[in-house]
Amino acid sequence: MGKEMKHFTLRAMGYASVSAAAFVTALVLSSELFLAASLMSAALFILSLSLYPRRCEVTREMEKDTVFEGEKVRVSLNVSDQRHLGNLEIFDRVSPMLELAEGSNLASLSPGSRGFDYTINASIRGYHRIGPTFLRRWDPLFLWFKEEEIGNPSQLTVFPRISPGRAGELILKDRKYRPGDMRLKRVGLGKEFHSIRDYTTTDPFNTINWKATARTRKLLVNQFEAESVTDVMFILDSRLVSRVGTIRDNPVERCIRFCASLSNELLNRSNRVGLIIYGSSVNVMKPAAGSGAHDQILHMLTNSTPAGQITLGASITYSLPYLPPNSPIFILSALNEDPTIRDAVKQLIGRGHKVTIVSPSGIEFEKGVYDNKVIPKYVLKRIERDNLLLDLRAVGARVIDWDPSKDVIWAMEEVWK
């Protein structure tokens, strides 16, 4: 139970002042009229002040405590006792990163009511706090209140949204062959259906799709997804300068959603996935496979906060020992305000990595802040960015310039092309 604080509203102070001023005037002028006015306002003030509710308990119930971005959560608050003459006002503090979808987290309980509920919209990933609850016990006229903090805060874990990837072969440079048995999570992996094509004489009969053949009256065969088991590293830019645009939608959030979606697809295909997040520090997760890796990646992504200004060059130099040789690398960055990008990418390619850069354009997000007006500085930065992308392509990296108007699915498809 927190410390109890007493607060007077402006009205209460006004009434007290009127009463005091009238009393002094009554004495100075020896006027009974002012004395009457003073007594009357003092009586109203004191009467109301003496009637306020007893302490009570408030408990919070949450529908669920772990959700994905975009889902809604219902929160209910229940009050233990509600028999009194005053008023109870309850405020459940909600993290500013959460939106209220329905109802309000602030409510004055009407007589007889035992509680209230509201729904929050988890629009952005993160570990969000709900609570603590503040209980304000008011007098009947809402002149003053005693406020105390009750109940413990709850945590709502919001994972980044995972968009489904298109089935198909990921263009990866090297396939990794592992020695010995490899237990796969899913039976028939590598035998996943991809598409149907015309029969050629070299196709084995068991691949013929008889249903389709019967329907089209020509021989068609099933095409299966190729199996590509490899180690993939993601390097995610979580610097403060990458959080441009709005907090809801910015290059960092785009990269995180992309990383969550693509890593999910890759892990489903039995690849091993590693993750490096740089910003205020460099966090490395070594490549790993399976649902454990999936969870670990989701938690790392959920926990990351855009901050700091470590460059790509510095973070790659730090994490070189963790990069599996020749593994494909995804750099997820807005590529802004970082002079080391060109050399860092060159270095990676020189070590034999296949580098794919997925870059949500930071200046496009910033242009959104200026209502999408084309301003002179934007043109300059755009030219510089285009130069950088051309340069990176010239170095041998695959660059996906991600326009903010396109969603994560578009970016995933671009990768799969």
Partner: protein, 408 residues
């Protein structure tokens, strides 16, 4: 600045008010003397209860004022009110004198009897003065201290007996009682009429023992004040002697021809018994609520407290959900316009664009001559900007040209 809570302000205001009240109370209680002579509530030989009872019997509304004459400010009907102050044992304060004077100017009547000089504060405001020193006259009874005087007025014709009277000098008003021509005042208190030539003050002559400030007050409809040089005339032990009682009562009837309220000012005496306790406890409150200076002080304090409360007070905020998801941030486009320094950056960007689109390395590109560069650029406007840093028209046009530039 650290904000102070509303309750703190109120606490301090009340504490200050309380201290003011307590200090007033202490001052008033300790400044009182320990004798109850001539109090209307005192039944003993030295009290004045007989006079007070007689007035009640005659139909006057008799009250005892225990706290302070400042309360006379609150008197609703001063024209029919008489304040009697007998032998004050302390001097009146300035604000009390102000209240008495105001009471008089509003039509109030005052009767003061004194031989100690404590009444001079009030008397001097009516240009009357109590002269210190006992008066001796030829018409004494059994002892030179007890002197008889003849009174010949419309309202009373007879004699009164006084015990060790003082005398009065006045420059306005009219005498009600005078001595014989052989009366003298013992100015140095040795009981002997000293050498006349060396001590002029003790020379025999007519002295005055009662003075009225305005003999025609009933016609003027104004207030009146009567000063008598001997309070013992009204004592229980003296009032029944000679024509004292008749004189006293007729004086009161003369001052209040329509009857009315008679207030004995017992605030100048210590009251006996229970009323003494009431007196002590109420005096501070009465003082605080009627004393003009205290009114100003407490009024100013209240105004100051209100002002400081208004200045320091911060109303509690209404809690609400503050969603920050739509807050915006910029990094590269903080300044939307191109500034001088940006032109160098633009020049570098344009050169880079040319180099990258021709697929040249930095070294190869640096080795180019101006003529070769002009050929690669093609556009004379851009070339001029690269070579001389100048451009025609606005910077917007240059930017458009750069945007549209493509490798030949």
């Amino acid at each position: 600045m650290r904000r102070i809570g509303a309750s703190t302000i109120w606490k301090w205001t009340f504490l200050l008010m309380f201290l003011l009240f307590i200090s007033t109370e202490i001052y008033v209680v300790t400044s009182m003397e320990d004798e109850g002579e001539l109090s209307s509530l005192e039944n003993g030989w030295t009290g004045a209860s007989a006079f007070s009872d007689e007035l009640s019997r005659r139909g006057f509304d008799v009250r005892s004022l225990l706290t302070t004459p400042s309360l006379l400010h609150e008197e609703e009907d001063p024209g029919n009110t008489l304040l009697i102050s007998l032998g004050p044992q302390r001097e009146y304060s300035l604000s009390e004198l102000h209240a008495l004077r105001k009471f008089h100017s509003r039509g109030g009547r005052i009767l003061m009897a004194d031989d100690s000089g404590n009444g001079n504060g009030l008397a001097s405001r009516f240009e009357v003065n109590f002269v210190r020193g006992q008066l001796y006259d030829q018409n004494f009874v059994s002892s030179p201290d007890l002197v008889k005087f003849d009174v010949n007025q419309d309202f009373f014709d007879g004699t009164v007996l006084m015990n060790r009277p003082a005398s009065l000098s006045f420059s306005s008003g009219q005498a009600l009682i005078a001595s014989t021509t052989s009366a003298w005042v013992d100015r140095n208190g040795n009981g002997i009429n000293d050498n006349i030539s060396t001590n002029q003050g003790e020379a025999p002559g007519i002295r005055y023992l009662a003075v009225i400030s305005d003999p025609d007050f009933t016609e003027h409809g104004s207030g009146a004040a009567v000063f008598i040089a001997d309070p013992s005339l009204f004592m229980n032990g003296m009032i029944e002697l000679e024509g004292n009682m008749e004189f006293a009562v007729s004086l009161v009837e003369h001052l209040l021809p329509r009857g009315g309220k008679v207030i004995f000012d017992d605030s100048v005496h210590r009251s006996p018994d229970a009323s003494g306790i009431v007196q002590r406890s109420l005096r501070g409150l009465a003082f605080a609520t009627t004393d003009v200076n205290l009114k100003i002080v407490s009024g100013a304090m209240a105004v100051l407290a209100l002002l400081s409360a208004a200045y320091l007070y911060e109303p509690p905020g209404k809690p609400g959900h503050d969603c920050i998801l739509n807050r915006t941030g910029v990094a590269e486009l903080v300044e939307p316009e191109l500034l001088e320094g940006d032109l160098a950056e633009l020049r570098k960007a344009v050169l880079d664009r040319i180099r990258v689109s021709y697929g040249m390395s930095v070294d190869d590109f640096s080795a180019l001559s101006w003529n070769e560069l002009e050929e690669l650029v093609g556009s004379p406007g851009i070339y001029r900007f690269l070579r001389k840093g100048k451009y025609r028209g606005g910077v917007e046009e240059l930017l458009l040209e750069v945007m549209a530039w493509e490798r030949k």
